[in-house]
């Protein structure tokens, strides 16, 4: 049985057709900076029309939500074959204040509220974005934080959930380019301060449920005044407020969700949640949930297969670091960086703490291997937020990107209007030699010093490598277009569930190679921080062209295999169209 093969050229043709059909919008007027040899990314947001500046509503009162957003989502909402970009926007945290009281006003001409940018990928591979927020019926005007994406009603169109300091919103994709707010009807509102969220099929019934991480009980009326050592006002840490419990909403399959947080056993442990990533951490075929908490024990909710979860984080070794210390966890990503077939966790933390790598032994027990893989020292001076395992150079192993930005005044920036800027990091997987920070050698795109928060990852220009959109607090969104040019091959797989959820979120995909261990990747949009990434699975292949087959373990538990796989291409694998897979090529 052959895979449904979409060659790169075909995908681009599809894009061209859409463009010829008469897309409207602003034309990018700026020229795209040319990449220099050896620089893996070039920043092209403004040049491609992705013009968005985050407004945090800071007024000098140091309301805590001001420094926590925003996230970003990459989703192909119009199914034209390329990734569009959704950027959540904040407002004034105190509804009694007007935007005129903000220290950092919204740039002239930028509309308020969240924005959706349609990708109008050019035939020559150049990116061009058009703001279609109004056309799409969007423009949420609350105090948005993050986004989670997933096709919860399996109609083939990606829906999304916006988290906020205040009311969250579930948008249903109508399939005609428009969205409608179905929050109330679906019963998924949470009025508390929500941060990251994730769609997952925890009960294996074929539709996507929703997990929402919540942060702390901050209210404007209860705002506390926190100060640094010299008495200068600064943002409070999570300890100043009590944490809010997280929520799990079960999809009832009829457009409605039921809050099953208590029934699922999630009420017994919670902290100030900021990051979430769902995967089958113990290899039992059921989706588990990992929650990264800020300054408190993290939770690893192991799915018991009966609708209940058990928090095993402490004994699993992922609640606190090897030194017995709960860290200020922000973003989190799961991936098989060491190629042993299980999901390892990497999470970002406050400066003076290290980011932490927990290596899975395959049974859901982990070892803090941060120092052993040289990931400790390189992160000490940064406060990390968004992060993802990605093979940016298509050499077949998973590297890391970390979006950084302080939450406490940076001493070296004291006196500046918004002294929280830091540089982001690109960290290369050097195999047995651990990881190395290659930010310095990565050119101007990685030299930007901003207050980065969310980051989403995906192949925006459909050229076979992973691009990055970084959402900055009180600053412009950035698009880092991957310009890696070399002989490395790649393969991108889109899953199409029939019994499982439509995008196959939670499926494990193995690329089988002759004489080499399989490369395992997971279909996901969750992880990072407040953000949602490309739901396609990307494999860098290095110089190898010896792809024997692709195996998929679907969320429903079935295993299928497809042979005759081409490389340097996009393929779609439909559930039920492959052969039964016994684990061998």
């Amino acid at each position: 049985m052959k895979a449904i093969l979409i060659r790169r050229g075909w995908a681009l043709s599809a894009v061209v057709i859409v463009l010829l059909a008469g897309c409207e919008g602003d034309k990018a007027t700026q020229s795209v900076p040319a990449p220099q040899p050896g620089e893996p990314f070039v920043e092209v947001a403004a040049a491609s029309g992705l013009v968005f500046t985050h407004f945090n509503g800071a007024s000098g009162a140091y309301y805590q939500p001001e420094v926590f957003g925003p996230g970003v989502a990459l989703l192909d909402y119009d199914r034209d074959g390329d990734l569009d970009v959704y950027l959540p926007q904040a407002g004034m945290p105190d509804p009694g204040q007007s935007p005129a009281q903000a220290l950092f006003p919204l740039p002239a001409g930028q509309p308020t509220g969240d924005r959706l940018f349609r990708n109008e990928l050019q035939a020559d591979g150049m990116l061009r974005f058009t703001d279609v927020t109004d056309l799409a019926g969007l423009g949420h005007a609350g105090y948005a934080q993050g986004v989670a994406t997933g096709d919860y009603d399996n109609d083939g169109y990606t829906d999304f959930y916006v988290t906020a300091f205040g009311t969250n919103v579930l948008y249903h994709n109508q399939g005609d380019g428009r969205f409608i707010d179905v929050t109330s009807a679906a019963g998924v509102d949470d009025p508390r301060w929500s941060t990251s969220a994730a769609f997952l099929d925890y009960d294996r019934d074929g539709d996507l449920d929703l997990f929402v991480a919540n942060y702390v009980h901050f209210t404007v009326a209860g705002n506390k005044q926190c100060a640094g050592g010299d008495g200068t006002l600064d943002y409070c840490g999570p300890q100043s407020y009590r944490p809010v419990r997280d929520r799990l909403f079960r999809n009832d399959g009829d457009g409605r969700f039921t809050d099953v947080s208590d029934a699922a056993g999630l009420g017994v442990a919670f902290g100030p949640g900021l990051g979430v990533t769902c995967a089958d951490y113990n290899g039992d075929g059921w989706q588990d949930i990992y929650v990264a908490n800020d300054g408190d024990d993290n939770q690893l909710w192991i799915n018991q297969g009966n609708g209940r979860f058990e928090n095993t984080a402490l004994m699993a070794g992922v609640a606190i670091n090897a030194y017995g210390k709960a860290e200020a966890s922000m973003g989190v990503t799961a991936g098989d960086f060491d190629g042993d077939g299980d999901e390892d966790l990497f999470m970002t933390h406050l400066d003076r703490e290290t980011n932490t790598l927990y290596v899975n032994d395959g049974t859901g027990n982990f070892l803090d291997a941060t120092d052993a893989h040289k990931l400790g020292r390189i992160s000490l001076q940064y406060t990390g937020f968004g992060a993802e395992w990605l093979d940016f150079d298509n050499d077949s192993d998973l590297d890391l990107f970390v979006a950084n930005g302080a939450v406490r005044i940076e001493e070296s920036l004291r006196g500046q209007p918004f002294p929280y800027q830091e540089r982001n990091q690109l960290i290369r997987n050097d195999g047995r030699d651990g990881f190395s920070d290659m930010t310095e050698q990565s050119g101007p795109a990685l030299a930007l010093v901003e207050v980065s928060r969310g980051a989403a990852f995906g192949d925006l220009d459909n050229d076979g490598d992973i691009d990055i959109v970084v959402a900055n607090n009180n600053g412009p969104a950035r698009l880092l277009r991957n310009t890696i040019d070399g002989d490395n091959h790649w393969l991108t797989v889109r899953l199409q569930g029939t019994r499982s959820n439509r995008a196959g979120l939670g499926a494990r995909v193995a690329l089988l190679r002759a004489g080499k261990p399989p490369l395992w990747r997971r279909t996901h949009t969750d992880g990072s921080y407040l953000s949602a990434s490309d739901d396609r699975v990307h494999f860098g292949l290095g110089a190898g062209t010896d792809v024997q087959a692709i195996g998929v373990v679907w969320p429903q538990g079935t295993r299928e295999i497809w042979h005759d796989i081409g490389i340097d291409s996009f393929i779609t694998l439909q559930e039920g169209s492959g052969k039964d897979w016994d684990g061998n090529p």
Binding site: G231, V244, M315, G324, K325, N365, A372, R377, P417
Partner: protein, 476 residues
Amino acid sequence: MQKTKRYMIRALPGLLAIAAITGCLQPGDPDLPDIPELTVVEFAEPVRQQILAARAQLLEAPRDARRNLRLGKILHAYKLQSPAIRCYQRARVLQPGDYETAYLLGIAQAQTGDDAGATANLRAVIRLQPDYAPARLRLGEVLFKTGELAQAQTLFEDLLAQEPDSAWAHHRLAQVLAALDDAEGAIGNNRRAVELYRDFGPAHYALALAFRNRGDSELAQAHMERYRLQPKQTPPHVDPLLESLDALDISATAHVRRAKRLQARGQPREALLALEQAIKVEPQSIEAHSQLIRLYHRLNDADGVERHYRAVTAIEPNAVMANLEYGTLLAEQGRFADAAAAFEKVLAANPDHSAAHTLLGQAAEELQQQAGAERHYRTALENDPNNRRAGLLLGRLLMLTDRRTEATTHLDRVAQRSDSDQTLYLQRIAQVYREAGEHERAMTLLEQARTQAAAQGQERLLREITQTMTHWRETQ
């Protein structure tokens, strides 16, 4: 335009302060780093004066090593590591043989991530003052962090030769050995660490994971339970040089910190003095006033509570801790409606405050408003399912109104959580069942509480439970 202007205005005092200070600078000395420029305008006045005085003294004699060291220490005490490092570096050049300077410089460098600098200076301390054990510990920690495992191992072993009963040295050596894949060596040292300091949380945690990896789940569980009881407990660091920094910190925050320490040591009168000192430094400190309310409450000094409650509510009417504490005092005085008003203030600022809902529920019960009480307990649990007090009170209320099945669910849940308070809750749940006429169940729970109290060395509680059991048996 408006924003720029606002920033100019905000920054002006700081700029003036910098200008005033830098204006006094002497021309640079090529052998020495410059005396750091400082912005001290944001500090409370006494702290500002302390820093400026030390700096003025230094400017009078810029080559005086002690004066450089002193300014460095004061800045370090306020966590201004970068300028502190400059002062220490000057002192180090001027008096290379002083181990105190080298040590504090090394510590400040380690805190700012300058591992190379920290390593060099901490090594110097070991040369200059081999007996100063904390230097070996700190240097070992830096070397471990930078991946110099063999050197770190040697240092911790040297330290153990010097101080065989150092729980910290054993624990740190265990970390190095674990990193070197010597699991048994790591276990041995962590075991010794918990022998030396019974409640050493991180050592118990490391042991739990080590036994887990070895497949010994029983020992793993046992150590994890010990960790859960006191997760953050560690042995005190005996480090006179670092303690001397703490003594220089005269900020309100430091006084509050000291007061909390004194309270924990059972010295409430001394804690009161520290908190009053905090108010002198910073009269608007909500934290200090709130702690004073709590402390005066513990000392049954209603006037003290009133005085500071008035002070804190003038600053922040809905201050959480102050209103909770004040309301509790009023409730103890039988003024339940007034108590409820104080708790309502907390909810005005934090509608989901679980503890405030619990206390409001209790006040409502006293005011014979059972429905209101139940609603508050349920809201408290909705916001924090681990709020055992709310669970216990709701369970009790349900039991009293003959809704036993649901009551039992709540009480069972309260009983299940294992930590250092579990014994107390078992005792209270037993009381609820006894009041409900379930004597056998009450005795079983009390027996459980007694076993637990004995296992955890809770002597006072053990005596109390034993007496209660005797009494119940006699009166059954």
